[in-house]
Point group: C2
């Protein structure tokens, strides 16, 4: 949990962050340390205008086609959890990264890194989950790869899914499109996935069952694109939660974002678990939610469209984009005070996806 100082710590960071000599778990958090690694190592090495968009997917032109292209490795622990498994997560995660660019997801690749000794039935079960998730999402697994490493050199099963989608000429969603006055729409309850994984890992149990919200969101996105051209940017708040997604948008667009804490839907059990564990739901991972930055006059029609889709039933307007404090996300608490929602410093919950 992170309630730190209001320093702007984005990619064009004005304050130097101390570099680390070796990789720490926090470098996989999707928070400050991830941003540091991106800034210090990856961006200098691979600078090009396509990568520099830093969205969840690249948009590339091939022979007159506008394609979305994305990749994601999954290392979630445990492999199976209430609501899904690593296979479901991989398919939905990659479909969502394409969908957040406004793309129609089409084709997925599937690459396994297996640890010697993995029970074959585990691989079979994960493959079945991939199959069903792909069928549900209407995408095809068209190419794959399998590597095996010695016992002790992996952790059961890691999977990478990359994906290709088609983007219409009219759609231009990006984290740098937010403007003061825009509204922040959230598609539903936050924190379910992260708390499910944590509970599973630590052996907690809750009175009523919480399960991962893993779901493919491209249908919801299509419903939204159908009713309005006012969408500026979409993100699925996975690693690092809603705070990471919104901080990235605030940073990339040079705007401030003001949330209304009371408007953010959180399941009672998730809120309770967070309080017990000292976590803030804004930092907990989701795998079936999206946050949308939309033009002010499009907010109501988009909200209505979202609520008609089962995956957006609990959608809410949760905040506003402002010209004040660029690069910063704040929230107005239930007590009426305001606090800064900074990027996560280390890793609150490693291997969440």
């Amino acid at each position: 949990m992170q309630r730190g100082r209001p320093i702007d710590i984005g990619l064009s960071c004005p304050l130097p962050i101390p570099a680390h000599d070796s990789v720490l778990l926090g470098h996989g958090s999707g928070g400050k340390m991830s941003a540091e690694m991106l800034r210090d190592i990856f961006l200098p090495a691979f600078q090009n205008p396509i990568l520099a968009r830093l969205d969840d997917q690249a948009i590339v032109e091939v022979h007159g086609c506008r394609l979305a292209f994305t990749t994601d490795s999954f290392v979630v622990k445990p492999l199976f959890f209430p609501g899904g498994d690593i296979g479901t997560l991989a398919v939905n995660g990659t479909v969502n990264d394409l969908a957040m660019g406004g793309a129609e997801p089409l084709f997925l690749s599937l690459a396994f890194i297996l640890e010697e000794g993995l029970p074959m039935h585990v691989l079979r079960q994960v493959s079945e989950s991939v199959k069903h998730a792909a069928a549900r999402a209407g995408v095809q697994i068209v190419t794959g790869d399998t590597k095996v490493v010695e016992k002790g050199c992996g952790d059961g099963l890691f999977v990478n899914t990359s994906g290709i989608g088609l983007v219409s000429r009219e759609v231009h969603l990006s984290a740098n499109q937010a403007r003061p006055g825009d509204r922040v729409l959230l598609s539903g309850m936050i924190g379910d996935h992260g708390i499910t994984i944590l509970a599973q890992r630590e052996g907690f149990s809750f009175e009523s069952s919480i399960e991962s919200d893993t779901a493919a969101l491209h249908g919801l996105v299509a419903d939204m694109l159908r009713v309005s051209t006012g969408i500026r940017c979409l993100r699925d708040p996975t690693r690092g939660g809603l705070s990471s997604s919104l901080n990235e948008i605030a940073e990339r667009s040079g705007v401030g974002i003001e949330l209304q804490e009371s408007a953010i839907p959180v399941r009672e059990e998730v809120q309770g678990a967070c309080e017990m564990l000292g976590l803030d739901p804004l930092y907990v991972a989701n795998e079936g939610k999206l946050v949308a930055i939309v033009a002010p006059d499009a907010a109501d029609i988009l909200l209505a469209a979202m609520r008609q889709n089962p995956l957006g039933r609990d959608a809410q307007i949760v905040g506003t984009v402002t010209g004040a404090h660029p690069g910063m996300v704040t929230t107005r608490t239930r007590l009426g005070t305001s606090r800064i929602v900074d990027l996560l410093s280390g890793d609150q919950l490693p291997r969440i996806c």
Copy 2:
């Protein structure tokens, strides 16, 4: 090394292979056990006509574009070796998988799975190698992902590269296109990569230095496509070596392949190392070679074109496709006898790429 019985052990295998209860290193070999896993787990789960081609890349139609799409994870040990490192290998490997479909490679994704504690300079060095290899190959890294796993749950650094290329309408290369009478062309010396890795890992040294042949082959392929429409199929003989690639082609095309052992170029040091270690160069991995099945009347012009490219300087016609013994690869030895070149049973050399 494998000089086993002449059973047809391909994907439509007539003899049952005993299934394994858990994943073994041999399942990553690119040989029989990989084929078994593909047949028992992946093909039943993901059957579709695109995947069923079982080539090194999928060819998909998107909005009137013919795209090649491929994925590969790299787990090579050690990370650095004479002639390259895991970064070079990843870029060249994915470029080559696209090139073997006759595609012009365009865009790559890059996904790291890092082990906690990996020295940051290692990541930096690998990223530099990726950058340089991508620049040499003329492809752009446009999207990426980084995950971190706890110390002891990975092995330093694994990388996945997926790639997109554009395939011309006229080009239809596939492992099922070989016909009796076709010639087998090999672009150069075999075994360099595998022996380099093995030597590095085991601390052998040779009188003269052997290094990995890792290279991007799309320029060579373009030179070949320019002079002839007689190419049926291209493969880069990586894991499992030349034997694996040719067995797959023989199986998929329902043809026999007869090699001329004396025509297959092998560096003297590699031959010596193989003899010392009891390895057969036909099973040793290459990372900068291609094997082409071509129409008989196109063989000479293609051979000439290959030899004009530095990466095909040592190209040779090494065999013929026959109607006899479908699904089987044989070689005529220097002694004039014939032996079967079967698929590798286990894993001769784990984590070669």
